[in-house]
C-alpha cells in the first residue's frame, strides 16, 4: 500500500510536438462519428445559448416596448420550441462525449495490457509495477477525457465566445468591438491563473502523500515508537509537516477563490463600458433597451466559457504528458522475439545443453561466465548456492525469459532461439517459490495449466499433487474462491495447487523454485511426494532449499559467483567436504531444530 502512495507523480515537461498530437488524435479517430456527434451538438448548443439571449432582447424591443402582445407570444413560442431542441442537443453531446471518453479509455487500456503481455522480462525487471499501473489507470483516464470532454469544452468555449460576439456585432458593432478587446485579456489572465492554481495543488498533493507516509510509518511502527518513548518528538515533527500542509492547502484554496472575482471584475469593466457608450448612443437611437440588456447578458455569461477554456488549457499539459507516457509504453519493443523463420515444435523433450553461456543484467556486473552444462533427458538437477550466485539466472535462461549474451542453449541439439517462444514456454511446468495464484476458484486456477482440461483431468491432477484431500474439505470444494493472490489459502495449500497446475499442463520440462518458508511436517511430506510424482520421467531443474529435495536429485550443482563450484551426487559432494558440506550441515541443523518444538510441546505432560 505504501508503495502505491509514495509513488510520486514524476515531474514532466511535455513538449507540444505535432507528432504526439497526431497520435492522440489517431487514438480518437476510430470513433470519429461520436466525435462528430458531440462537436455538432455542442456547437448547436452554443448557438442556442446566444440565440436565447437574442430572443430576450427581441422580447423587450418587439414585444414589451411597443406593447405588442402577439409578438410577445410568438417569440415565447420560439423560445419554447428551441428549448426543447436545446435539451436534445444537451442529451446528444453528453451521450456522445461520455461514450467516446469511455471508449477511448477502453481502447488504450486494452492496447497497453495486450502489449504488456508481449514484453520481455527485462522490461518488468526495470519498470516498477506502480509505474505501469498508473499508465493503465489514471493516464488512460486522463487521455480519454482529453479527447472527449477536453475537446468538447474547448469547442464550447470557442464557439460560445465567437457566436456571442457575432450576435453582439449584429446588435451594435461599435460596442461589440469594445467587448472584443476584452476577450483576449480575459483568456490570458484566466489561463495564467489556472496554471498557478494547478501548481499549488500539485504541491498540496505532494505534501499529502508525505503525510500519508508519516501516518503509515507511525502506525506500523507504533510498538517501536512506544518502547522508545518517541511520542512527543514524533508529534513535533509531524506538526511541522502538517503545518506545511496547512499553508500549502490554504494558499491553493484562496488562490482559487480569487479566480472568479478577478475574471468577474474584468467583465464588469466591459459592462460599464457598454453602459457608458450605450447611454450616450441611446439618444441617437443606435442601441435599444433590449440591446443593452443583451450586451450585459452576453458579457456576464462570457465568464463561463473563459473559465472552461482556462481550465482545459491549464490541465492540457498534464494530459499530454499522460499521452506521452502511454505511447512510451506502447512503443516498447520486446527484447526477445521469435526469429522470422522460427520453428514451432511439438515437444521440447531431449537433452538440454548450456554451451559457454555468458550473461549479465548490467555489463559491469557479469552474472554467469562461461557456463556449460549438459543435462540428459529425464535428469533432475538441484541448484544450490548463496543468493546472487546465479541460480535464478540459469532458470530464467532456461525458460528463455532472457537469452544468453554469449554462447548458446541447445534443446535436443537445436539452438533454442531457432524455436518459437510459445513452443518452448508452453511446454514448461513452473512452480515458483511464492506460488502465484489468480483470483478465481480453485478449479479456474488449476485449469490455468491447461485450458481445455476436463473436470476429470483437473481432479486427477489434484489427486496426483495430493491437493484433492484439502480441496474437498474446503467449503465449496473446487468452486471455492481463493481470494486475491490466494490469500484465503495457506502457503502449503497454495504450493500444492501450483504443483497440480503444473501437472495438468503435462510439461516436458519442470522448473521449480523451492519455497523456503516453513510449512508443517505433514504438508511438507505431501509436497515432497507431489514433487516426485511430477518430476518423474521429466527433465527438472530445482532451485533447492530442502535437504530431501537436494539429496534425491541426480546431480547437485553448487554455484558460486556465476560459476559451477562443485557438481556431483549428494554422496560424492559430502565426501569432498567442501562448500556443499558446509551448506548441508547448516541446513541439517536448521531443519532438525523443528524437532525441538515438538519436544517442548510434550512438556506439560512431564510435569
Amino acid at each position: 500500500m505504501s508503495d502505491e502512495i509514495q509513488f510520486e507523480e514524476e515531474e514532466f515537461n511535455a513538449r507540444f510536438d505535432k507528432n504526439l498530437f497526431k497520435r492522440i488524435f489517431m487514438a480518437a479517430a476510430k470513433h470519429w462519428y461520436l466525435m462528430l456527434g458531440f462537436l455538432l451538438a455542442i456547437s448547436a448548443a452554443s448557438f442556442f445559448d446566444s440565440y436565447f439571449t437574442f430572443l430576450s432582447k427581441r422580447l423587450i424591443d418587439e414585444g414589451i416596448l411597443p406593447g405588442d402582445m402577439e409578438a410577445l407570444q410568438s417569440i415565447l413560442m420560439q423560445y419554447a420550441f428551441f428549448s426543447v431542441v436545446q435539451a436534445f442537443m444537451v442529451f446528444s453531446f453528453i451521450m456522445c462525449a461520455g461514450i467516446m471518453g469511455q471508449r477511448v479509455q477502453y481502447d488504450l487500456r486494452e492496447r497497453m495490457f495486450n502489449h504488456l503481455q508481449t514484453l520481455s522480462f527485462s522490461y518488468f525487471d526495470r519498470t516498477p509495477v506502480g509505474w505501469i499501473m498508473s499508465r493503465v489507470t489514471s493516464d488512460a483516464t486522463r487521455v480519454g477525457e482529453l479527447v472527449s470532454w477536453g475537446i468538447l469544452d474547448v469547442t464550447w468555449g470557442v464557439t460560445n465566445i465567437i457566436i456571442a460576439l457575432l450576435f453582439m456585432a449584429y446588435i451594435n458593432w461599435q460596442l461589440a468591438f469594445i467587448v472584443m478587446l476584452m476577450v483576449p485579456v480575459l483568456v490570458v489572465v484566466a489561463i495564467q491563473f489556472q496554471k498557478h492554481i494547478l501548481k499549488e495543488y500539485r504541491q498540496v498533493r505532494k505534501l499529502n502523500s508525505k503525510i500519508t507516509g508519516a501516518y503509515n510509518e507511525n502506525i506500523t511502527g507504533v510498538r517501536v515508537v512506544k518502547s522508545l518513548r518517541r511520542e512527543e518528538k514524533n508529534l513535533e515533527e509531524f506538526g511541522g509537516l502538517a503545518g506545511d500542509m496547512y499553508k500549502a492547502g490554504f494558499r491553493a484554496a484562496w488562490l482559487s477563490a480569487l479566480f472568479l472575482p478577478a475574471v468577474q471584475l474584468i467583465s464588469a469593466f466591459a459592462v460599464s463600458a457598454v453602459v457608458l457608450v450605450g447611454g450616450w448612443q441611446f439618444s441617437s437611437d443606435a442601441i435599444t433597451i433590449g440591446g443593452i440588456q443583451a450586451f450585459i447578458s452576453y458579457i456576464t455569461f462570457m465568464m463561463w466559457p473563459v473559465q472552461e477554456l482556462a481550465r482545459v488549457f491549464a490541465s492540457m499539459q498534464q494530459s499530454v504528458a499522460s499521452a506521452e507516457r502511454i505511447f512510451s509504453l506502447l512503443d516498447e519493443v520486446p527484447d526477445i522475439q521469435d526469429k522470422p523463420d522460427a520453428l514451432a515444435v511439438e515437444s521440447i523433450r531431449g537433452d538440454i545443453v548450456f554451451e559457454d553461456v555468458d550473461f549479465y543484467y548490467d555489463p559491469e556486473k557479469p552474472v554467469l561466465q562461461n557456463f556449460s552444462l549438459h543435462v540428459k533427458q529425464g535428469e533432475t538437477i538441484a541448484l544450490v548456492g548463496p543468493t546472487g550466485a546465479g541460480k535464478s539466472t540459469i532458470v530464467n535462461l532456461l525458460c528463455r525469459f532472457y537469452e544468453p549474451r554469449q554462447g548458446r542453449v541447445l534443446i535436443h541439439g537445436r539452438d533454442y532461439t531457432d524455436l518459437t517462444l510459445h513452443s518452448i514456454q508452453s511446454r514448461i511446468g513452473m512452480v515458483l517459490q511464492t506460488p502465484h495464484l489468480f483470483s478465481g476458484t480453485v478449479r479456474e486456477n488449476l485449469r490455468y495449466g491447461r485450458l481445455d482440461a476436463t473436470d476429470d483431468e483437473v481432479v486427477s491432477a489434484a489427486k496426483m499433487a495430493g491437493a484433492h484431500e484439502f480441496i474437498t474439505v474446503l467449503d465449496e470444494g473446487y468452486e471455492t474462491e481463493v481470494g486475491e493472490g490466494g490469500v484465503l489459502l495457506s502457503v502449503g495449500q497454495k504450493q500444492l495447487l501450483s504443483i497440480a497446475r503444473a501437472i495438468l499442463a503435462q510439461p516436458d520440462l519442470i522448473v521449480m523454485d523451492e519455497a523456503t518458508s516453513s510449512v508443517d511436517t505433514l504438508t511438507e511430506a505431501v509436497i515432497q511426494q507431489a514433487m516426485e510424482r511430477m518430476m518423474h520421467g521429466r527433465t527438472s531443474f530445482v532451485i533447492a532449499h530442502r535437504l530431501s529435495t537436494i539429496k534425491r536429485a541426480d546431480r547437485i550443482i553448487v554455484l558460486k559467483e556465476g560459476q559451477i563450484d562443485e557438481i556431483g551426487t549428494h554422496a560424492e559432494l559430502i565426501r569432498q567436504g567442501g562448500h556443499y558440506y558446509d551448506l548441508y550441515t547448516k541446513q541439517f541443523r536448521q531443519e532438525k531444530s523443528a524437532a525441538y518444538d515438538a519436544a517442548y510441546e510434550q512438556a506439560p505432560l512431564a510435569v
Partner: protein
C-alpha cells in the same frame, strides 16, 4: 485561536451532526463571517439589477444623459468590486476554517493513534486507521471548504434574489419558484442514484487494477504457461464491464441535465410571459421587467446543483462517524503511577504468581459497512501477521514466578506461542498482568509510570523495524538529547555495523529504504541493536535477536549482545539451547507456564526434564550428521560440536 486549545475527544457525540458542529470550535466566528461576506457579495450582485432598473427607467429617458451615465458606469464597477471582494473574502475565510480544522484533526489523530493501547493496535488494521486519518479528514475539509459553503451560496442566491423580486412584485415572486421544489427533489434523487453508480464504477476500476496487478506480479506464471491470450480475454471482460458502467453513467447524466434544463426553461418562459404581460399592461416598468428577468436566472439555474452538494455532505457525515470511532478510544495513560524516580532502576525483578489474559476492547463500535464481516477476517489477519494467535480472554500466562537479580541474564526458552514474548511485554507495561504481582526494585510494577519504565527498558524485537529516515536518525531515534557523532559511531561499532554503514556511498546519511541501498535483515537487526545501545537501558529484552541473521554475522552479533548484557538485567528469548547456556537463569516455558527453571548445569542434571531432552535431541542431530558423512574426518566434526556452545 490556538489549535491545541481543546481536546478533540470532548467533541465525540453519538449524534454525528452534533459532533461535526463541535469540532468547529474556535472557527465558528470566522466561518460565520465567511457566510456574512457571502451574503454581502450576493446582495451586491442583486443590487446590480436594481441599478440596471434605475438606469433603464430613469436615466435613459433623460434628455441629457452625459455625466450621470458616467456615474452609472462607475456604479456598476463599484458593485462588481464589492461583489468580487466579498466573494474572495468569503472563500478565503472558508478555506481558513476548513484547513484549520483539518490541521487540528491531523495533528490530533497522529498523536492519538500513537498513544492508543497495544490492545487496540493488535486488533486494528493499518489500512483502516490510515483511512480515518487521511481520506476521512479530507472529507471534513471538503465539507467546510466547498460543500457547506456551496449550499450556503445557492440558498443565499435563492433567498436574496427572491426577496429582490418580492420588493418589485410579490405576485411575481410567488409565481417564480414553482419548479424549485420539483428540481430539488429530482436532483436529490438523481445524485443519490448517481452516487451509487459512481461507487460501482470505482469498484470496477479497483477490480481492473487488481486484474492488472495480478497479471504483472504473476508475469512468470503467465509466461511459463504461455497464457497471454487467456489473460487478454480475462482483462477484456473487466475492461468491458467498466466501459458499460461508464456508459450508464453518461446515460444518467444525459437524461438528468436536459430534463432539469427543460424544467428551468419552462419556469423562465412562464416568468417572461407573466412579467411581459404586466409590463405591457403598465403594471410594471420595463426596468423592473429587466431586473426581474436577471434575478430569475439566479434563482433557477443554480438549484439543480443543490442535490449534488447535499449528497456529498452526507458522505462527510459518515466520515465523521468513522473518525469519531477512533477518537473515542482510550489512550494509554503514560504518566499513570506514583513512582517516577529521578534515578535509574537497579533491575531487581520478581515475578510472583503472575497470570495474564488478553482482554478485548470495551466498546468497539462496528457501525458502518467497511467493518462488517470482513472486519473479523482483518483482525485475524493482523493478529496472525504479528504472530499472536491468541483468543481474547484466554489466559496466556499462568502463575509465573521467578527472581531476576540486577545484572543477571535470564533466558526464556520454549516453542513458538509458549508465551515468551508476552511475558517480556508485561515489563514495559505494554499490557498489564491480570493476577499475581511483579515487583521491580521491591516496588509493585504498576506503581511506576509507563513513561519511566519504558525509559529504563530497551527492546530488540524479533522483526527489526526501521523508519524511513537516515541511518543516523534511526540510531538516535530513542534518545531525546543531542547526540555527538562519536557516540553514534561507538554504538554502531558495538553493534558491529559501523563498517557496513561506512561502506554505503552516503554513510550514516543513507536513507533507509532508499533505492539502490538495501539493508539485509541482519544489518537492520544490528542498526536496531545500536539504537538500543545508545538508549543505554537498565533492563534489556532481546527477542530472538539473531533469528533473521546469517551464520556469517551471527557470531559477531552474539558477541555484541554479550557486551550489551553486561551490567544490565537482560532477558533473552531463544529457541535453541546453544544460545542460553551461559544465562544465570533459564526459564523453560510451555503453554504459558514455567515448566523448569535453573542454570544450565542444574537443568541438565534433571534427566527427565524437558531441557535435558531437548539438549539430548540436539546432540542426536549432531550424531546423525557425523554418521551421515562417515567418510569425513571425525576429529574435525567433533571440534565443531564443541565450538557451538562456546560462549
Amino acid at each position: 485561536m490556538n489549535e491545541q486549545d481543546f481536546d478533540l475527544r470532548e467533541t465525540v457525540s453519538n449524534n454525528r451532526v452534533v459532533g461535526l458542529w463541535r469540532i468547529t470550535r474556535g472557527f465558528r466566528l470566522v466561518y460565520l463571517l465567511a457566510v456574512v461576506a457571502l451574503a454581502i457579495a450576493t446582495l451586491a450582485r442583486t443590487a446590480i439589477f436594481y441599478l440596471l432598473r434605475y438606469f433603464v427607467d430613469d436615466v435613459l429617458p433623460m434628455a441629457d444623459t452625459g455625466l450621470i451615465v458616467l456615474w452609472m458606469a462607475l456604479g456598476f464597477i463599484v458593485l462588481a468590486l464589492v461583489q468580487g471582494g466579498f466573494t474572495f473574502i468569503s472563500g478565503r475565510w472558508a478555506a481558513r476554517t476548513a484547513e484549520g480544522i483539518s490541521l487540528r484533526l491531523r495533528n490530533f489523530l497522529y498523536d492519538h493513534i500513537q498513544r492508543l493501547t497495544f490492545t487496540y493496535h493488535d486488533q486494528t488494521q493499518t489500512g483502516e486507521l490510515l483511512q480515518r486519518a487521511t481520506s476521512d479528514v479530507d472529507a471534513m475539509r471538503l465539507f467546510f471548504s466547498e460543500q457547506a459553503i456551496g449550499v450556503g451560496r445557492i440558498l443565499l442566491m435563492l433567498f436574496v434574489n427572491w426577496a429582490g423580486i418580492y420588493f418589485l412584485s410579490p405576485y411575481l415572486a410567488w409565481m417564480s419558484v414553482i419548479v424549485i421544489p420539483i428540481i430539488i427533489v429530482a436532483s436529490l434523487f438523481f445524485f443519490t442514484k448517481v452516487g451509487k453508480v459512481f461507487e460501482a464504477f470505482q469498484e470496477q476500476e479497483a477490480v481492473l487494477s487488481n486484474r492488472l496487478q495480478e497479471n504483472l506480479s504473476g508475469v512468470r506464471v503467465v509466461k511459463a504457461f504461455a497464457r497471454q491470450d487467456y489473460e487478454m480475454k480475462r482483462f477484456d471482460v473487466e475492461n468491458d464491464k467498466k466501459f458499460r458502467i461508464g456508459v450508464r453513467f453518461a446515460y444518467m447524466h444525459g437524461t438528468f441535465w436536459p430534463v432539469t434544463d427543460l424544467l428551468c426553461s419552462a419556469q423562465m418562459i412562464f416568468g417572461f410571459w407573466l412579467a411581459g404581460m404586466m409590463a405591457i399592461a403598465g403594471d410594471i416598468t420595463v426596468g423592473t421587467y429587466m431586473a426581474y428577468v436577471g434575478m430569475l436566472v439566479l434563482i433557477i439555474w443554480p438549484i439543480s446543483n443543490l442535490g449534488r452538494l447535499i449528497t456529498d455532505m452526507s458522505t462527510a457525515v459518515v466520515s465523521y462517524g468513522r473518525m469519531s470511532e477512533v477518537m473515542r478510544q482510550e489512550r494509554e495513560p503514560l504518566a499513570d503511577g506514583v513512582l517516577h524516580p529521578e534515578h535509574d532502576l537497579r533491575g531487581d525483578i520478581v515475578f510472583d504468581n503472575v497470570s495474564f489474559a488478553y482482554d478485548g476492547l470495551p466498546d468497539r463500535e462496528v457501525d458502518d459497512k467497511t467493518t462488517d464481516g470482513k472486519h473479523s477476517v482483518g483482525v485475524m489477519a493482523e493478529m496472525a501477521k504479528q504472530g499472536m494467535a491468541y483468543k481474547l480472554g484466554e489466559t496466556v500466562l499462568h502463575d509465573i514466578s521467578f527472581h531476576a537479580r540486577p545484572g543477571q541474564t535470564i533466558a526464556l526458552l520454549g516453542a513458538t506461542g509458549s508465551g515468551k514474548t508476552t511475558l517480556t511485554n508485561l515489563l514495559p507495561r505494554f499490557y498489564d498482568y491480570t493476577a499475581g504481582q511483579i515487583r521491580v526494585d521491591g516496588r509493585e510494577l504498576r506503581d511506576y509510570t509507563r513513561d519511566y519504565l519504558r525509559g529504563q527498558i530497551g527492546i530488540v524485537m524479533q522483526e527489526p523495524f526501521l523508519f524511513s529516515r537516515t541511518i543516523r536518525e534511526n540510531i538516535t531515534f530513542g534518545v531525546a538529547r543531542e547526540v555527538t557523532d562519536e557516540e553514534v559511531f561507538a554504538a554502531a561499532r558495538a553493534a558491529a555495523v559501523h563498517e557496513v554503514i561506512l561502506s554505503f556511498p552516503k554513510g550514516y546519511s543513507t536513507l533507509v529504504g532508499e533505492r539502490g541501498v538495501t539493508l539485509s535483515g541482519g544489518q537492520k537487526q544490528r542498526v536496531t541493536l545500536a539504537r538500543t545501545l545508545l538508549k543505554n537501558p537498565r533492563i534489556l529484552i532481546l527477542d530472538d535477536a539473531t533469528s533473521s541473521v546469517d551464520t556469517h554475522t551471527e557470531s559477531e552479533i552474539r558477541e555484541a549482545l554479550r557486551r550489551m548484557a553486561e551490567n544490565r538485567t537482560t532477558f533473552v528469548i531463544a529457541h535453541r539451547v546453544q544460545s542460553v547456556m551461559t544465562a544465570d537463569l533459564i526459564l523453560v516455558l510451555a503453554h504459558g507456564r514455567v515448566v523448569q527453571q535453573g542454570t544450565h548445569a542444574e537443568l541438565l542434571a534433571d534427566a527427565k526434564g524437558i531441557y535435558r531432552q531437548v539438549y539430548d535431541l540436539q546432540a542426536r542431530i549432531e550424531d546423525e550428521l557425523v554418521s551421515e558423512s562417515a567418510d569425513h574426518p571425525v576429529s574435525e566434526l567433533a571440534s565443531e560440536l564443541v565450538s557451538v556452545p562456546a560462549d
